[in-house]
């Protein structure tokens, strides 16, 4: 362990932003002033202050045994003052509550009894406990789907009954929708599948429909625990389809995905042979040879555009940084650095490959105390032209040529590689206002909040 530094690259989403994805959700945080300041200003900057309130903990509260009652009464005060009760309230307790050992079960049951038509999601902003089991980020991605299949709100909707629809698939755990051009999405839609994604839900009812899907697909490691819990609870098939940059792995995943999804559909048809209401056609695997060729062509073009530029990637950009580094190096890019403090899950083999095969390859800590000085050193460096993939890499390399991407963006499948290549080509040719862009907190969240406001909900 050591002291840690935080670079001024703010585009990653925090647990203050993620629950805003649930349409019509109202978010309540409880904690000390220093903790609340970040979340309240995050909500305000996203234009979501109408969906956010807080319950401040004073010094006295820590010792007077009132934290449970303050949570309950504070939440009630907030909900009662709203013009209309929200369908869903997300309540966050803090490190201080957990250390004090407060009974969140009691809090949750009391609130549920007081507000029978509101779905309460209980989550935690407890970074102190981040190494003790489930992290706050993992918990949030799990709790994001907690009301599904047991919504009290849906109990009052007409004709509410849950049944698994084998022609419906959930994409879960992301903070941005997948690209409409992804061959995976195109394949599913062509076969008549309904695709649910929280990132495209317009209403709370749309969100609740996710309980009906037969298959859950997740693609980021932080969503794994949530995906397993949801699938088990609702008896949904689970498939891990990561955003990978290894074309062989991609091909295997596509083939395996097609088999799994087809088998779910077939099994449903066998169970109800006369029922055509919820049936999709057999999936048609896309032309993988053509996709590989397109990907390689895109990479070749990007490589030419980035001629003479050194490549740096950071962990906040994509889940598999070393796979991307390997792919780019094999495609002719001058890959030099990866900024990370750990090897992401699933990326171990490529980490080894890069270290062994890329001469002078550097793995640089993002949070080390000496990282504080990297930006300044880059500012003074002469004649170096970097192309960064990720905001932190852009900051540390002090470059205006960068791909602004957070947590895989909308990438998925072979098209994800084509899209990444296209983004790199653009970054090589154009300069961006790096300083302005990287200081926007939770890139994309404000637009997401506007989208939901625009939907009239």
């Amino acid at each position: 362990m050591a002291l840690e530094y935080s670079p001024p690259a703010r585009g990653t989403w925090t647990i203050a932003h993620v629950p805003l994805l649930i349409p019509d959700s109202y978010v309540i945080f409880a904690g000390a002033s220093c903790c609340m300041r970040g979340v309240v200003l995050s909500a305000a900057e996203c234009g979501a202050q109408d969906r956010f309130s807080m319950i401040l903990v004073s010094e006295d509260d820590i010792f007077n045994g009132k934290m449970e009652s303050n949570l309950i009464d504070g939440t009630s005060e907030i909900l009662d003052a709203l013009p209309k009760l929200p369908p869903c309230a997300v309540i966050f307790s803090g490190c201080i509550h957990e250390t004090a050992g407060i009974d969140m079960d009691y809090v949750s049951k009391t609130l549920e009894a007081r507000y029978p038509a509101v779905d309460f999601i209980i989550s935690k902003m407890n970074p102190t406990m981040r190494k003790s089991g489930i992290t706050p980020e993992e918990l949030m991605r799990m709790q994001l789907y907690a009301p599904l299949g047991k919504s009290r709100f849906s109990a009052i909707l007409p004709d509410a009954k849950r049944q698994n629809n084998p022609a419906a698939i959930n994409i879960i755990g992301n903070i941005a929708p997948r690209s409409e051009n992804s061959e995976v999405l195109l394949m599913l839609k062509a076969a008549g599948y309904i695709i649910h994604d929280l990132c495209t839900c317009q209403t709370y009812e749309d969100y609740l429909d996710m309980a009906d899907a037969a298959v859950n697909v997740y693609m980021v490691p932080v969503a794994e625990k949530g995906a397993i819990e949801l699938s088990k609870r609702l008896e949904q098939k689970l498939f891990y389809f990561p955003v990978t940059f290894d074309m062989d792995t991609l091909e295997r995943l596509l083939r395996s995905f097609v088999c799994e999804v087809d088998s779910v559909c077939k099994s449903a048809k066998n169970k109800e042979p006369g029922n055509n209401d919820h049936q999709a056609k057999t999936l048609c695997l896309p032309d993988i040879i053509a996709l590989r060729r397109s990907a390689k062509d895109a990479l070749t073009r990007a490589s030419k555009a980035a001629q003479g530029m050194k490549i740096a990637i950071d962990f906040s950009a994509v889940s598999r940084i070393f796979e991307l580094a390997q792919l780019l190096f094999e495609s002719g890019f001058d890959v030099r650095r990866v900024y990370t403090d750990s090897v992401p899950p699933g990326d171990e083999a490529s980490n080894e490959w890069c270290t062994k095969n890329i001469k002078g390859f550097e793995i640089i800590s993002v949070t080390n105390v000496t990282s504080r000085f990297l930006h300044c050193q880059a500012s003074g460096a002469q004649g170096s032209e970097w192309l960064a993939i990720g905001q932190k890499a852009a900051y540390y390399c002090n470059t205006a040529h960068f791909v602004n991407i957070i947590e895989n963006g909308s990438l998925w499948g072979f098209h994800g590689i084509i899209e990444m290549a296209s983004l790199i080509e653009k970054a090589a040719k154009e300069e961006s206002d790096m300083r302005k862009i990287i200081q926007v907190k939770a890139w994309g969240c404000a637009e997401e909040c506007k989208r939901l406001i625009g939907s009239g909900k």
Binding site: P8, S33, C34, L41, M54, T75, T99
Partner: protein, 390 residues
């Protein structure tokens, strides 16, 4: 009394005030916290993060640290960081540690940790026993006050004293006026748009010599000469503890207040109706919400320059510098703040307070952003409201 904060924001915390006050002085500053405080402070409360070198870190506190205590880890990590900085050719001038809710809750001996760090590194070390729960005036005030004992030259022979003063005067092209320090200058109250320099210009234009500004635009070496001052000027609540300490150590008296810039005020109040002097009833009032020295100075300006009457201050911060009158409010309770806002004819406050207005309200709202409240959201709209001309 409200339990919740439904509509409004929260002021920057004591821990962040400490960091802001000490930012420019070349120290190694540690937030004893898991992770969030670092991100919150450097995103919302520290406009200098991108452009100006600093060594501000988080201790990355874990559950194990909370359960086991483990101040020794904090001390070891701090000492390692000092060594690493020295190896990079950037030796810190001091170390400062501030607490957050978890260390506060478990009774972490932050002062003791600071003493241990001092012994092992030879550097002056501040251990601020804050919990991230009180507001920034407390943390910034304690940090600036600590500088007096840590760095100010205590005893100067009379003949050297005159030489030092001459050196300060000649560096500013002024010679005859009083020597002063400006206390309580942080971006939390004055942003980085030029207000800090306006203070210096103001006093220099009146023939005075500014020894140091605590703490924007001055080095520790300049601050070390603070004891030479004839008088100190407290420009925010964050400066009061240092002023009191300087008075104790050197006998230097202090004055509290700022002079508002007329041109800036003309712009701020450009669209304001003549609300104050035409009340239909005696209960109408203008409400200023904010930090006490700013609010007091603004009230004086409104009364003296614009003929306002019945101006009340609502100060939600702990330190009021004794500037509030009986008719003023000293509260951070959201319910009381909302009532005060809704009862006013005119409100002058950070834009976030506008949310407290009732629908269809006729109360006139004058936006005056305060970085310690709304962070960077309205930073571009903060005027240079400190007068730079005598």
């Amino acid at each position: 009394m409200s339990i919740s904060t439904r509509l409004l924001s929260t002021y920057s915390a004591d821990l962040f005030g400490m960091c802001s006050a000490l930012y420019e002085l070349g120290g190694l500053i540690i937030m004893h916290d898991a992770s969030g405080c670092n991100s919150t402070y450097c995103t919302h409360d520290e406009p200098r993060w991108f452009d100006m070198d600093s060594m501000i870190y988080i201790s990355a506190l874990t559950e194990e640290d909370v359960i086991m205590g483990q101040e020794d880890r904090l001390i070891d990590d701090a000492v390692s960081a000092v060594k690493a900085a020295r190896n990079q050719g950037r030796p810190p001038r001091f170390v400062a540690i501030g607490g957050s809710p978890m260390p506060f809750m478990i009774g972490c001996d932050i002062e003791g940790a600071a003493r241990a760090i001092h012994e092992r590194t030879g550097l002056p070390a501040l251990g601020l026993e804050c919990g991230g729960i009180k507001d920034y005036t407390i943390g910034a005030g304690a940090a600036l006050s600590w500088l007096v004992d840590a760095f100010c030259i205590k005893t100067v022979p009379p003949d050297e004293r005159d030489e030092m003063k001459k050196a300060i005067a000649s560096s500013q092209a002024t010679h005859k006026g009083a020597y002063i320090n400006i206390l309580g200058v942080t971006p939390l109250d004055y942003s980085t748009n030029g207000n800090a320099q306006s203070f210096v210009n103001f006093f220099q234009s009146r023939g005075m010599n500014v020894i140091s500004s605590w703490a924007m635009g001055s080095s520790l070496d300049e601050i070390a000469h603070a004891g030479l001052a004839d008088v100190n000027v407290v420009v925010s609540a964050a400066g009061l503890p240092a002023a009191k300490r300087l008075m104790q150590v050197y006998g230097t008296r202090y004055e509290i207040g700022i002079t508002m810039d007329s041109n800036a005020m003309d712009e701020v109040f450009a669209d304001a109706a003549e609300a104050d002097t035409s009340y239909q009833d005696e209960s109408g009032y203008t409400l200023i919400i904010g930090e006490a020295v700013f609010a007091h100075s603004l009230r004086r300006y409104l009364e003296d320059e614009r003929g306002f009457e019945r101006v009340r201050i609502l100060c939600p911060l702990i330190e009021t510098c004794g500037l509030l009158k009986e008719t003023d409010l000293h509260t951070s309770d959201e319910g009381k703040i909302i009532d005060a806002i809704r009862g006013a004819r005119m409100v002058i406050a950070d834009p976030i307070y506008r949310r407290a207005l009732a629908d269809g309200s006729k109360t006139q709202f004058i936006s005056f952003p305060h970085e310690a409240y709304s962070g960077r959201m309205y930073r571009d709209n903060i005027p240079i409201f400190v007068s730079s001309e005598g």
